[in-house]
């Protein structure tokens, strides 16, 4: 079924009885060409691009819960390409281009909204660091504008320019940055993959990876054994556990990141704002809730919930930056589990086991990467060669020290990125 305004009208006139399932619920077959472990955003987009770009459709996506039950449905929905180190620059740039065509591509409105993202800075040193970043973005072919204090004031008059603890010197505007409706991204990819013949299998937990003579042969699941000679692990938040099934230790520590949404409010914040000094970022959803978040709780955790010290720190940052949000009420808080790597950048690579591929380590930047990650991982799985924009996301970079992408400059302590 093709979605369109016309279809919505036609269905409305006939009692909305004609809508069909977004995806099937097939039983797992005994054998597939490829298995994707993980039906989150990255796994679903990988399956979609395997089908669309490489014509591979004898594929199963195995999801232990429901589709999109991980971080794709538990983030602050920000889409941007404002990185500055080689590797990240070209990857996120590619991902953003995919975002820009996503609705047409998927025939699904993911509400990608390029409302502009502003990173604030509070000293001359920070301005120079953001200038380096902005220039790198333009070198990459993306967009960036350096705003002075008055430039920020024009766009964000409600910030506290007079009393805040860290005076606002200016901001780096990324006009093509913005947000998208997170769940819809998962559903759009799921529907797209399903329509091309991929089997999306929910409530199917992988319990083992079958390896013979250094090559993958299939997986064991709660719904039986499934054979395949290529298996991709795309299970952010559980990467270590699944990799351990193949005898691997990963350069990953799992951490909880909390986020918050307020009750619905009439439009008041029209951009995405990032306040690095306070580790605070905020936007307003189309439904009217202020969606915001902060830093990790900083201790290793799989609990997808956090504690009050970080909650209060985030709220304090909001109050010092934009005290006009004080009377908005926080409706809900949640926590996502982040695959934190030693340089804060992800991994898309083969493993030492033939036919076993790894996509992980997205730290807390995975949402915006969903299209690019799936595209590049599909390329790798289909062709056994690295897709150029993701060619630096190598698993061995920590051992060799080559091509580290430590945007924060905080070094090999996992939770500092």
């Amino acid at each position: 079924m093709r979605f369109s305004g016309l279809r919505v009208l036609a269905e409305g006139l006939t009692g909305n009885r004609g809508w069909t399932p977004h995806w099937r619920d097939p039983a797992p077959k005994a054998d597939y060409d490829m298995i994707i472990i993980g039906g989150g955003g990255h796994g679903l987009s990988t399956a979609y691009y395997l089908a669309r770009e490489h014509g591979l459709t004898n594929i199963a996506v195995l999801e232990k819960g429901y589709l999109g039950s991980g971080n794709i449905g538990r983030n602050t929905t920000i889409v941007r390409a404002n990185y500055f180190l080689p590797g990240n620059s070209e990857f996120y740039s590619h991902s953003l281009k995919l975002w820009e065509g996503l609705e047409a591509d998927l025939n699904y409105n993911v509400m990608h909204s390029q409302r502009g993202l502003i990173n604030l800075f509070h000293s001359d040193g920070q301005r120079d660091a953001f200038a380096r970043r902005g220039n790198a973005m333009i070198n990459q072919g993306d967009d960036a504008v350096l705003l002075d204090r008055d430039g920020v004031r024009k766009l964000l008059p409600y910030l506290d320019f007079d009393n805040t603890r860290f005076p606002i010197y200016g901001g780096l505007l990324h006009p093509r940055g913005g947000t998208a409706r997170h769940d819809a991204v998962a559903w759009g990819y799921a529907r797209g993959a399903d329509r091309r013949g991929v089997d999306l299998i929910q409530n199917c937990e992988v319990t083992g990876i079958d390896i013979e003579n250094g090559a993958v042969k299939g997986v064991q699941t709660t719904r039986g054994a499934i054979r395949a000679t290529k298996v991709g692990i795309v299970v952010a938040g559980r990467s270590g556990q699944v990799a351990a099934m193949a005898g691997m230790r990963l350069p990953i520590e799992s951490h909880v990141l909390q986020a918050f949404v307020t009750e619905g409010l009439k439009p008041v914040i029209d951009h995405v704002i990032s306040f690095g000094m306070g580790h605070f970022y905020i936007s307003q959803s189309d439904k009217g809730g202020l969606v915001f978040g902060g830093d990790l709780d900083f201790y290793a955790s799989y609990a997808s919930r956090g504690n009050l010290p970080m909650v209060e720190h985030v709220m304090e940052a909001g109050m010092t930056l934009m005290p006009m949000i004080g009377k908005a009420r926080v409706l809900r808080s949640w926590g996502g589990i982040m695959d934190m790597t030693p340089d804060g950048s992800p991994i898309i690579d083969k493993t030492p086991i033939d036919g076993l591929y790894l996509n992980c380590g997205w730290c807390y930047g995975g949402f915006k990467a969903v299209p690019g990650s799936g595209f590049s991982f599909a390329h790798l799985m289909a062709t056994d060669t690295h897709h150029a924009p993701a060619a630096r996301f190598r698993l061995d970079r920590f051992r060799t020290g080559r091509g580290l992408m430590d945007e924060e400059g905080t070094g090999s302590q996992h939770n500092l990125h």
């Binding site: 979605f3 369109s4 305004g5 279809r7 919505v8 009208l9 009692g15 809508w19 069909t20 399932p21 977004h22 995806w23 429901y66 589709l67 449905g73 609705e103 699904y108 409105n109 000293s123 120079d128 660091a129 200038a131 220039n135 790198a136 333009i138 070198n139 072919g141 409600y158 009393n163 805040t164 819809a184 009750e263 619905g264 009439k266 439009p267 008041v268 189309d286 439904k287 009217g288 997808s304 504690n307 009050l308 209060e312 709220m315 304090e316 940052a317 909001g318 005290p323 006009m324 949000i325 004080g326 908005a328 009420r329 926080v330 409706l331 949640w334 020290g401 080559r402 400059g409 070094g411």
Partner: protein
Amino acid sequence: MRLARGGQIDRGQRIAFRFDGHRYEGFAGDTLASALLANDIRLVGRSFKYHRPRGILTAGSEEPNALVTLGQGAAQEPNLRATTLELAEGLAARSQNAWPSLGLDLLAINDLAAPFLSAGFYYKTFMWPRALWEKLYEPLIRRAAGLGALSGRANADRYARAFAHCDVLVIGAGPAGLMAALTAARAGADVILCDEDLRTGGRLNAEALELDGQPGADWAAGVTKDLAAMPNVRVMTRTTVTGAYDQGTYGALERASPAEAARPGAAQETFWNIVARRAILAAGALERPVAFRDNDRPGVMMAGAVRAYVNRWAVTPGQAVTVFGNNDDAHRTAADLLAAGVHVTALIDSRPDATTALDVPFYKGAQVCAAHGRKRLEAVSIATTSGIDKLRTDCLAMSGGWNPTVHLTCHMNGRPMWNPALASFTPTPGAIPGLTAAGACNGTMSTHGCLTEGARVAAEVLVDLGFKPADTTIPQAEDAPYRITPLWTVPGKGRAWLDFQNDVTVKDIKQAAQENFRSVEHMKRYTTQGMATDQGKNSNVAALAVLADATGRGIPETGTTTFRPPYAPVTIAAMGAGGQGAGFAPQRFTTSHRASIAAGAPMIEAGLWYRPSYFPKPGETTWRQSCDREVMMVRNAVGICDVSTLGKIDIKGPGAAQLLDFVYTNTFSTLPVGRVRYGLMLREDGHVMDDGTTARLGPDHFLMTTTTAAAGQVMRHLDFVHQGLRPDLDVSICSVTEHWAQCAVAGPKSRDLLNAILDAPIDDATFPFMACGPVMVQGVAGRLFRISFSGEQAYEIAVPARYGESLFKLLVGLAETMGGGAYGLEALNVLRIEKGFITHAEIHGRTTAFDIGMERMMSAKKDFIGKAAAARPGLVDPDREQLVGLKPVGAVKQLTAGAHLFDRAAEATRENDQGYVTSVGFSPTLDTFLGLAFLKQGRARHGEVVRMVDHLRGIEALCEVCDPVFFDKDGGRARG
């Protein structure tokens, strides 16, 4: 309409208030909701999506419809529940989400278009043309969405944060909570009793029940009085426990009473962190609606709420009230209405075997299948075995049963258990370590049961904590069984509401299932059911039942969504109390702060510190003029700069030298006493952590300095290396940053200046370059270090912090007589760039010793932190970017930090990127801009001309690559 008598209101105290501009009156003790109902106001809000007219549904914080805005200007506060707002003189509430008025809301047209706005319609349209999304569709959607509005002005009210500790936290002060608190308090435990209502009693305030022969509310008041008189008890009304966190930590929001809130400077709300050894959840239960056609009409209310309005506020929400339920509890509503003299049109019970002794028209095995009327209820249709009856009525009290308030027990990912007898979820024991549920929230529905369980659970908790519970007498109270037959939806045409605020109907849930959103999480996210301000408190269980039915599963297999904190919404201002303005982070001031301000220096942030940027003199109109003068002053005379913000770490003990050898790349054990050495410190991953000088004050005594930015990190690191890796070393490490005030005295006249204040003069022989030692400064014991961050002959002199201000003033005063004076960070930065000295602009966390040309400082003779990782091939790759100096050579003379470098003829693209500029400054000494930069293979490219491109600032310049040391390359000035 107000009843003639009864209620917990003070009829002697009339309170005038406004709603949408009209003036009304209520009584002290009213909520806005009870006062509106007393004035026969039915239409109070509009729904989120269809802008349906809505009235008051509940009497508590779960209210989905009656949301209003209070206040003007900065005090404007949206989305307040009329049901919990205490009436106060002059209160002026405004309705929300309606234009131009609540009565005539143009967006009500959405209701007519509802067939086209079904679940998830927006995912299927608004895609073409692409460019219209941001330009047209999204702005329209955003404008239509949202509830109330923020003012856009900075918060001007005070909010507070507080912390408390107790043995037993009791959450909820209904019968179970009061008995629990009483039992715990009498045993001597420290007790905190919280209730979100303005008074204790819970449902006892809303019901016409007696305890020990007295009205329930009076009993509650009596017990509360006893509790409040005990020194080990804190009774916190107007306090909602919002979240359960680890190790017995609970978040709670306390609201000031209107009288308290009106006091100048009073905190409007206080957010509490309560640490409790044990907690007892006695949060009661919430009644749930039944879904039938147009069940959202103003006048359709929860039965328990109707009883609350009648009994507590002496208000009847209607003159001819119909009662509809599927459980015995609903019958109480008819009884209470009759007792209050209100006409009961009918009592309708969906259970075929129901009976009643009440003298009212009674329908058993019947269901209300439709509500009629638009802005107020006019009639209901009743489906009976013999057909449809239509009854004129202006209020329907409905009860689909009660849902135990299990929310807090789910805050640590625990899932509640389905209880078929209650047709609801009850808490899973142990879901929150240290928390036990008691009373209605635990599925115990009679008053007697709640009282007994409250006391019993408290006694168990007390034993665990080592207290001896005293025997407790349980008051006499009703112990009626709670009988229910589930009724979620009434079949029939039309739309039946589940989630009132978000306009999610039974049809939407069924459509979601039809589109294969069968997981309860998918259903929620697709339809938005449960995502409104009540977080599904009114709709979750029924929606789940509809989904279970639509997908052919039972409720337990269908599962639940997760309740997450906060239980009820909390203002950002309360949870972020103290953060507004300068309160967000500590402010650190040097001892010279006042003197710098007095000298007119603009102060700028350096981490948490404040440091002077420059010291303007009369006639100087730009910072550059001041900066240039200060630089030349240091080069030609003497300058004074407070450098106390640098980290100072005192390291003492027989193992001190060994520890330093281990944390620095270079060797310190060979440093003679009375000498200072520059040290480079790596992280264990081989990248530079920090640099600084360390002085040997005695054989086992060193003083390390760190950069301002890395002081905390280095202290932590030293403690880790010592305690975690080298516990064998006998050494003590202590930060003394704030104990010493330290000033740089730099310039050719620095020694002359010092000799004017030192009790014993120094000379080059006794105090050569890189010497250090104790000195007396006008009778004060201080320390002197001959080190230089400017390249000039320079010293840093330190005195105990209490003398810092005097020292600074003394030095600056003397310097000014010698053609010098104070200099600020701008000049400091230029001076160090001229010398090629690095700061964290260069050692930004990604650089290696190799990158900054200090690979020779990595000792081959010993192990040190970072040595192994620094040898990784990627960290010594000759192709890496290396530190260089840049001088403009083309027509454009300006350099900018953050610009990137390219070969002269190459296009400015990522692929061609050769490096970037880290620091720039105008050197008055050399009369040119200077830059420090990282350039691929930079050390081999001195003399080459590269192109600097700063797209953002529109600057391009040709630069000559050179050694980063621009001035006095052999360092003679510092030594001489």
